[in-house]
């Protein structure tokens, strides 16, 4: 039982987790995810895969928007760049998949330098608009570079075989996504508790003050862009492999909105929030469909015909409702519940 916040050294303040039970529950979750392919049917497993890929992407955006406070409306641009980098390297030039994944990270990271550089002078809304513009420009660039990207025809992608291990089956692919998502989670948590992460948060909270304290704004903002784009690009490659076909249409602008919705729903600036938000946002359309189908078959039919519209409508509603009633997101709600549990019947 936890009886208080006993922080006695500076080291404890930046520890990865602040209590042993968190390790236990993380291990339980990991085991459950490892067991998932044996227990779940392929339909449910597809949701697990989507959640794991989306978590990776959301954690990438979280570094930029959550930690550093730079709003990006064009994250789908990095996603699609990553997917194309992988597809071109692996499907077209027959490189090993590991090189493909490296490229899927590096190419968006380079692209992010191009978007990041002008945006160093910009804040808030202006930055959001620049990134939005970037995501449209990148689509046109991809469509125009036919010799490399096949233009509108897209590129077929096979499931990879890494170091002799084939990830062709859904179960194996789940493990690949799980490994990458877990590594990303660890990486972002570690970035957050390092000197770099503290600099990011300082820039988010007050950039002028951060600068006065000796933080190089340009370097750290660019670093946030590069890291974020690298992670997002790898998520894009995974998504491309999952779709088994990379095209501009496979990465609609709605994905940018979805990513922001995840961060808002989960709670901005928290890795746990990104995970919780992803689970909620990915399962929300399906859950709504189930609830509706309980009422009548006709509503179920509406859902299948207008799936895309209803999905985006749900995202919009969720964004507005959370911002209005629970701006700190699911993580905020979780903290409130924990506090109430510990202090009950006292208020604090």
């Amino acid at each position: 039982m936890r009886t208080g916040d006993y922080k006695q050294t500076y080291g404890e303040l930046v520890a990865l987790v602040d209590s042993p039970p968190v390790w236990l529950w993380s291990a339980v979750l990991l085991l459950a995810l490892i067991a998932a392919p044996f227990v779940l049917n392929s339909y449910a497993l597809s949701f697990v895969i989507i959640i794991l890929i989306t978590v990776t992407g959301a954690l990438g955006l979280n570094i930029l928007t959550g930690y550093t406070g730079l709003i990006s409306l064009g994250h789908v641009g990095f996603l699609v760049t990553g997917a194309y980098a992988y597809a071109v390297l692996v499907s077209k030039y027959h490189m090993p998949p590991l090189v493909g994944f490296l490229g899927a990270g590096v190419v968006p990271a380079l692209a992010s330098l191009i978007v990041g550089a002008p945006s160093l002078r910009l804040k808030g809304l202006y930055l959001a608009i620049t990134t939005l513009a970037f995501s449209f420009i990148i689509n046109t660039v991809i469509l125009e570079m036919r010799w490399l990207t096949n233009g509108a025809r897209g590129i077929q992608v096979q499931r990879p075989e890494i170091l002799g291990v084939s990830f062709d089956s859904d179960a194996a692919f789940t493990y690949l996504c799980l490994a990458i998502a877990a590594l990303t989670l660890l990486a972002t948590l570690n970035i957050r508790r390092s000197r770099v992460g503290r600099a990011f948060v300082a820039i988010r909270d007050n950039d002028t003050a951060a600068r006065v304290m000796g933080i190089n704004l340009h370097a750290y903002k660019l670093f946030a862009f590069v890291t974020s784009a690298f992670i997002t690009g790898i998520a894009g490659a995974l998504y491309g492999i999952y779709l088994s076909f990379v095209s501009v249409e496979g990465f609609p602008f709605l994905l940018s909105i979805e990513a922001l919705a995840i961060l808002i729903v989960g709670g901005l600036g928290s890795a746990l929030g990104a995970v919780l938000g992803t689970v909620l946002i990915v399962l929300l359309p399906e859950a709504t469909r189930l609830v509706f189908s309980l009422f009548s078959a006709q509503m179920d039919a509406t859902f299948t015909t207008g799936a895309q519209e209803l999905k985006s409508m749900l995202y919009g509603l969720v964004i507005i409702l959370f911002l209005r009633f629970q701006p700190r997101g699911l993580v905020g709600a979780w903290h409130d519940i924990k506090r109430a549990w510990v202090h009950w019947p006292l208020r604090y």
Partner: protein, 290 residues
């Protein structure tokens, strides 16, 4: 030469539509400090309502125009009251994200209420062709340029001379002081939303008149972004003129560099403008005090 003039004129015509929508952005930004990402969708709804009126009630120009303006005013007021006002005092990030959420909702609502097929708005005019020398221009294209110029003059006079216009500028400059001077900031915000909805709606109706209604019309809002960035987010007149410039640039890029360039010319311009002069040609520089 004739090709160039043709490009310029059609650029001016589409630019006038961008300009109208960009003015919608600027009116809201100027009085509330927000970028309304749902502007394109609001424009689209007004245009669809105009089309519904023209097909069900009457195709008369005045009926359609009055109905569309009324609908736009109501739309602006409802959105302000139900969605934006509860967010008053919240951080800009939250409010702007709310407009993004709103945009997504409106977009899919349009697909549900109306269908996904393109429609032409037919009110018996606007599609005729006038010959200026050897160049053919649609009357609708001339009308939208004229409307933009008229509205620019009217809005300039409104902000310069009318009491309400001065009040709006006061709220934009410093909402607390404005409150102390007896100006109701919430009313001004409501007015701004209604006005923005009408100005952009007019652009939408003209678009439907010269081109076609389709579910992809919300992209007009994205196309009008460069215009308002170029003109200055807080410059209503500048945004209108920015629209014309973007329209011409886009058409010239499309005519001489290829159709892919037409789509992104505006966005490429945004990035250049933001690098060189982030507050736009006519906007005011933001000075940050510690």
């Amino acid at each position: 030469m004739q090709y160039l003039i043709q490009l310029l004129i059609s650029g001016l015509a589409i630019g006038a539509i961008y300009g109208l929508i960009a003015m919608g952005f600027a009116v809201i930004y100027k009085s509330t400090g927000l970028v309304n990402f749902a502007q394109g969708e609001m424009t689209m709804i007004t245009a669809y309502i105009a089309w519904t009126i023209s097909t069900t009630v009457s195709g008369n120009v005045f009926v359609v125009a009055a109905g569309a303006i009324l609908a736009a005013v109501l739309l602006g007021l409802i959105i302000e009251r139900l969605v934006m006002r509860p967010m008053l005092g919240e951080p800009v990030f939250a409010t702007v994200m709310v407009t993004i959420g709103l945009a997504v909702i409106l977009r899919s609502a349009i697909n549900f209420i109306w269908d996904a097929y393109p429609h032409g708005l037919d009110i018996g005019m606007g599609r005729g062709i006038v010959h200026l020398g050897s160049i053919g221009v649609r009357t609708g294209q001339l009308a939208v340029i004229a409307t933009l110029l008229l509205l620019l003059a009217a809005i300039w006079a409104f902000f310069r001379y009318s009491k309400v216009g001065v009040a709006m500028r006061a709220v934009a400059a410093d909402d607390r002081t404005a409150l102390l001077m007896g100006i109701s900031a919430t009313r001004v915000h409501a007015l701004a939303w209604a006005a923005s909805s009408v100005i952009a709606g007019i652009g939408g109706v003209f678009f439907a008149l010269s081109y076609d209604l389709s579910p992809a019309m919300f992209q007009l809002g994205l196309k009008a972004f460069p215009a308002t960035i170029l003109g200055g987010l807080d410059a209503v007149l500048g945004s209108g003129i920015g629209g014309l410039l973007i329209g011409i640039t886009e058409n010239l890029a499309g005519g001489y560099l290829g159709s892919g360039m037409k789509e992104v010319a505006g966005f490429a311009m945004i990035i250049v403008v933001l690098m060189v002069r982030p507050f736009g040609i006519f906007g005011e520089r933001d000075i940050e005090r510690v």
